[in-house]
Amino acid sequence: MAFDYDKYLRPGKLPHIWCPGCGHGIVMKGLIRAIDACGLEKNNTAIVSGIGCASRLPGYMDFCTLHTAHGRAAAFATGVKMAKPEMNVILVGGDGDGTAIGGNHFIHACRRNIDMTYLIMNNNIYGMTGGQFSPCTPTGAKASTTPYGNPDPAFDIAKLAIGAGATFVARGTAYHATQIDKLIAEAIQHKGFSVVEILDDCPTTYGRRNKFKSVIEMMNRLKEIAVPVKAAEKMSPEQLEGKILTGVLYKAEKPEYTGEYAKVIERAKGAK
């Protein structure tokens, strides 16, 4: 049976603004299937974004949504969660939004282990503003601001999240569409700060500058570089050269922030 996406979309919003072949649409569909699988209620679910092509996502979703300032999704989302801890809070955005201007909010949300899910669509570039390099642009890649090749090493978002204290970290790709909803659903169900990075494609500002002849070539690259964590265990470092691990990369139980804060409130009430 064809999945009924319309049930979760604001009426009359399609076609969306994303370019032909842009992976953001594939990711949004995965998010919708995950929300459906988890049975989240529209009135009890907030979807919060910053600014960028990826951050346009909440506008299509028939939920409680916030489209905020560039890089500030985590700050606004934290406010929502603290005011209404019973609400499901999902953050979405691009690699630029989340790891450049929003990098600070990102690591501190991880550190607090606040029970929210952060879906980060990593297309290795600032798509919306015409292809400037981001902290996730690979070394050597071309962007409008690195016409001779990017000298910077890129962030590994998953490692950054784990190092900063997130308690659920997963990675998928826009090519592996069946996996996207499963990873997001597991992230939503996890109690604590969950990060799901989806390796995505921006044919318009990244692909054409970096010798990808078409979006199909970009999809094929995602297919080739992805190695499921289980399969990687049996591979040598040479075999893993240039590959990227996918699946659930990290999971831990740690005190969750809204729960800890509730205890502070209780303590303060008893204070003399």
């Binding site: 569909k29 569409a177 069946t178 979006v215 199909i216 999809m219």
Partner: protein
């Protein structure tokens, strides 16, 4: 017994002609007709749903 064929609906006003569904269909059911995707060989469809899952534009619906 005749096998039951799925229904593949392509919503042309949503299709942006990215080729993803055509390229990654394992049995080459789909083709581009001008700007939009179209069904070429419905008999070959194995109902894997990959085209529907990967279409970034909500433009293709497979009902098995």
């Amino acid at each position: 017994m005749e096998k039951k064929l799925p229904t593949i609906e392509i919503i042309e006003k949503y299709c942006k002609g990215c080729h993803i569904c055509v390229e990654f269909c394992p049995t080459k059911v789909l083709e581009m007709q001008g700007f939009v995707a179209a069904v070429k060989n419905l008999e070959a469809c194995i109902k894997c749903m990959q085209c529907e899952l990967r279409c970034p534009d909500f433009a293709i619906k497979v009902t098995a």
